[in-house]
Symmetry: C2
Subunit: 509 residues, 2 copies
């Protein structure tokens, strides 16, 4: 019997039509098989044809923009302004990957000419990166478009030349269906194989498990919880043929404020952090969750509490997330050594949760594992430190996506402290910021959205920015291959005008 | 009680002095902790200092060359000529990685300048690759030097800036100890931290398991058996913080001969394959193990059998490997549908095993899983095919390191067949050769020594060639960071003169 489910309106808790059928094993198998069947044709596309696909998907999503945004707002309550921006980010990254494909650096072309006179004789070797094969993409709940079924994972997988089987997040099932319709329409219009992109719906874990363990799936992209990401990674590692799982699973995004910065700008920093921690109801993987402050931070804590309490908040993404946040916040506030600076406030009937500021000390922070787990939602923990504890505190923070340091560049003593903080933080996270908030992840070549476990399952990868394409490629070398049998991009005359390394030297076209 | 063991002389089976103590848990912990303590200093070295370390290790190994080669020959029976070449390969790749480090492209420097006027404002983002942390390296049995404790894995890990804890293969424990002494002497002479390189000895699995599960180990490099590599990968995936395992576990290295090539050069191809399959007593991970031949291959099979039977063979690397080979060969020869073309031969008291040629058909090959597993040793299987079966046979071969196609480039029909074989083979392996044998793996920029599982646990990586360094790096981005707090290689003026991507454009220094 086919099970069905619906998404829910976070503002009312009511189910929203239509209902979706949970994909069964046969549907997962059909999707993975269609993807495998499409793989050779996608891999064989010229760079221009591959770029055109990405651009056409962007165009189709834009054409459907109003309907997409309305549906996404109904299912997430994130609001039209935010979702309009998110659609722009989604189409922008599709087009950015199209430009990347046209340049061709991602092919990693290397040519070492042979030398029959060498001892031993050196063969002619030519190396390029080829698509891994079908990629399973798991849409996220908190970014229904930019990290949804045609978000960064799908854009980078298609840019690599990999077919995609996307699993919609059940809380934005309707949005995902509309996005998928736009992608599928584009694939059909361009005459590409049907298996280039397939959407699967499911409210339980079964669809995802079947997908990750399917023998024709070659890699996985996931954005979501630590529990979910680790479960998929464990399934993938236990396969007869293990496959890579690129799971981005969240982060504490710790913040350090130096004594000089606290003295000079404590209140302003508090206001910036409050805005960042409550943005999107605190439902960002880059939300600053913990701030390490030196002594004399009372004014900072006061300003942070005021600003957090005053932040406009809507409902959270779904009832499960909201219940988890409320319970976790209560558990944290009840810990010995933790004070709830916002405890006096009660719900003011804004229809959402209350944001919170908890205050503790380094001993408590170091002792209580619960404090060091991500708490998804508008909560920020202040850890009061001695000035000489700030640097050592870096080692107490789990691997993460970001770390931020606020310091006074013109104060020599402060710069020494900041340098130590930045250097240490770089060993624990993928992105280190100065005087800024970690929310807002620019899509560009230099972006790094990843980090040591538990931030991700693959610290050497990024899920945002141009280098996300690297996750879905693998190298192949051709030895002494006649040009007639070589892929075009490896021909000597460089017909695709790609950057290359030839006989050890980098060459630009 | 400390357990001890010795290596053995493969020519006599006798133990060779000295005996080595099995590292206990405390020794593993001390090694990993020392490596973790050394990591920041190694990461902070200038490119020149890091390159100097690699070159000085090469010099030290060369200075100790005669002793190293003598000991390696005693423990492996591979002979002075082969081991002299292997030492050259070992020092050559250390020096090649030094040159790579000096160029600095491996740092992957990317700079995206900020734009405060953009909507939303774009931050300044600068990205580079940093060392992963301590790497556990497992020395291989079949290349005591080039894939030993200062082989390609160690060279590439040090090039990345990672400390190394090396586990010697017990069958070349003495060679490994001499190599480690040269490395350690160099580390001391250069004033680098002791934990830069540590050697651990062990004959059982305990040392390796303790090392791979140690919380301060960040990545693993391994060359060896499928069973061993998979066991380490499973241990690493089940850690509280999973780490990447780069295990190269062998391959079938299938060969295809087109009808035109068979007709034109069948006997010559047979002789080349026989030499490759028996080189080093067939103990290469790139040994060609299976040849798919079209009809009319009788002369080929005859020539192959003659050449294999005439090949000079010594003893195998150790008694366990030899016993496994003899048993596996007998099991394979006993399969219904398999003929032992060399069955009439008996041991001719050369002090080694007999090389073998087995002949079968595609149905038997596809039916018997044992045929499709790597058989380590001088054995080659001929699969007789119909001409129209050759291409479909590609799908029957497990993921591998190499595939080879022999064809006649000037024959149009033959080129079409060859193109199909090459394209299909590229989906299953890391290196595709034309008219050549897969043994002999050049160390260069374009080399790819890796491939889909079960060839390796990470198809996107190579364990030979310059790109091996990529395995031990991860990206870090700096956002809006004052130059005084940035790593030198990210400064605007490019003080280290490294290739960069700036505002989307590749730039050479």
């Amino acid at each position: 019997m086919t099970r069905t489910f619906t998404a829910h309106d976070p503002r009312t808790g009511d189910p929203v039509e239509p209902s979706f059928s949970e994909a069964d094993t046969a549907a997962v198998d059909a999707a993975a098989s269609a993807a495998a069947a499409a793989a050779p044709a996608l891999a064989a596309l010229t760079l221009d044809a591959r770029a055109t696909l990405l651009e056409a998907i962007a165009d189709a999503l834009e054409a459907d923009g109003p309907a997409l945004i309305a549906r996404a707002d109904l299912e997430t309550a994130l609001g039209e302004v935010r979702l309009t921006g998110e659609l722009g980010r989604t189409t922008g990254q599709l087009r950015a990957f199209a430009a990347l494909v046209r340049e061709g650096a991602h092919l990693g072309v290397v040519i070492d000419h042979g030398d029959a006179a060498a001892t031993p004789a050196r063969p002619d070797l030519r190396r390029m990166l080829v698509p891994l094969g079908p990629v399973a993409v798991f849409g996220a709940s908190n970014f229904p478009l930019a990290f949804g079924v045609a978000g960064g994972d799908t854009a980078s997988a298609l840019a690599a030349g990999c077919p995609v089987v996307a699993k919609a997040h059940p809380s934005n099932a309707g949005t995902s269906a509309l996005v998928a319709a736009a992608v599928t329409r584009t694939v059909t219009r361009l005459g590409l194989p049907e298996g280039t992109f397939t959407l699967l719906q499911g409210a339980g874990h079964e669809v995802g498990s079947a997908l990750v363990t399917h023998p024709q799936v070659s890699a996985v992209g996931f954005t979501g919880s630590l529990r979910g990401g680790r479960a998929l990674a464990d399934l993938a590692a236990a396969r007869p043929e293990p496959i890579p799982v690129y799971a981005e699973m969240g982060s504490q995004n710790p913040v350090w404020i130096t004594p000089a910065a606290l003295a000079a700008r404590g209140v302003k920093i508090a206001q910036a952090l409050a805005a960042s921690a409550t943005l999107g109801v605190g439902q960002f993987c880059t939300k600053p969750s913990v701030v390490f402050v030196p002594p004399d931070a009372d004014a900072f804590v006061h300003a942070l509490t005021e600003a957090v309490a005053a932040a406009p908040l809507g409902p959270m993404l779904d009832a499960r997330i909201e219940a988890h946040f409320v319970a976790r916040r209560a558990d944290l506030a009840a810990l010995t050594g933790v004070t709830d600076a916002t405890a006096a406030r009660t719900s003011d009937a804004r229809g959402g949760v209350d944001a919170g500021v908890l205050v503790t000390d380094l001993t408590t922070w170091s002792r209580e594992p619960l404090l060091r787990e991500e708490c998804f939602g508008p909560l920020i923990v202040v850890v009061r430190c001695r000035a000489d504890e700030l640097v050592d505190a870096v080692a107490t923070v789990p691997g993460g996506l970001t770390a931020s340091v606020w310091s006074e560049p013109d104060d020599v003593a402060d710069r020494t402290l900041a340098a130590a903080l930045v250097d240490r933080a770089a060993t624990r996270v993928g992105r280190v910021l100065h005087d800024g908030v970690p929310t807002g992840v620019a899509v560009s070549w230099a972006q790094q959205h990843g980090g040591p476990y538990p931030a991700t399952t693959a610290a050497s990868s990024t899920s945002v920015g141009m280098h996300a394409v690297d996750r879905f490629l693998r190298p192949v070398a051709y030895q002494d291959m006649p040009e007639a049998l070589l892929p075009t991009c490896l021909h000597g005359a460089n017909p695709w005008s790609v950057p290359r390394r030839v006989d050890g030297h980098l060459e630009l076209p």
